[in-house]
Symmetry: C2
Subunit: 77 residues, 2 copies
C-alpha cells in the first residue's frame, strides 16, 4: 500500500488528531477510516496491530498509536 | 513556528517512531530533539504539553503523543 491509514472512532481526541495528521501529511496521503461506523474494518485494523484509536498505520506497515482516545475493546463494545 | 518538533529520548520505540514520522512528513519539515541528551530543552517540551516521549508538536502547537516510550519523569530521572 502507498497510503497511510488513519483509524479512529469519532471521539474528540480522534478528530483532533485526524486534523493534525491530515495537515502534516496531506489528505491525499492518508485514508481516514471511522471504525465506529465502518465496523467491518475492525478486524483489518486489529490485524495491522491497532490496539487503540486514534492510530496511524504507515505505508510500510508500522502502527503509530497517537494520543490515546479509546481501546479497541471500547470500540467493539 | 513552521516546522513540527519531534521530541524523543533515544529509546527503541522513539527511534522507530522517528523514522516513521520523517518518512511521512519529510525530514525538512520536522526538527528532531533528543531531550535525553539535549536536556536544556526539557522545559520547552513540557511547556508544549509533552508528557511522554516520543511526541510530535505540530506547527499549530498541538502535541501528538505517539507509541508510549517513556514518561517525562523517566527522562528527567
Amino acid at each position: 500500500m502507498s497510503k497511510s491509514i488513519f483509524y479512529h472512532a469519532g471521539c474528540p481526541v480522534c478528530i483532533s488528531a485526524e486534523h493534525d495528521i491530515v495537515n502534516l501529511i496531506g489528505s491525499e496521503n492518508v485514508e481516514i477510516v471511522h471504525i465506529g461506523e465502518d465496523r467491518n474494518r475492525i478486524a483489518e485494523a486489529e490485524a495491522a496491530g491497532v490496539t487503540s484509536v486514534p492510530a496511524l498505520v504507515t505505508p510500510n506497515g508500522n502502527t503509530l498509536h497517537i494520543n490515546f482516545g479509546a481501546s479497541m475493546a471500547d470500540v467493539k463494545g
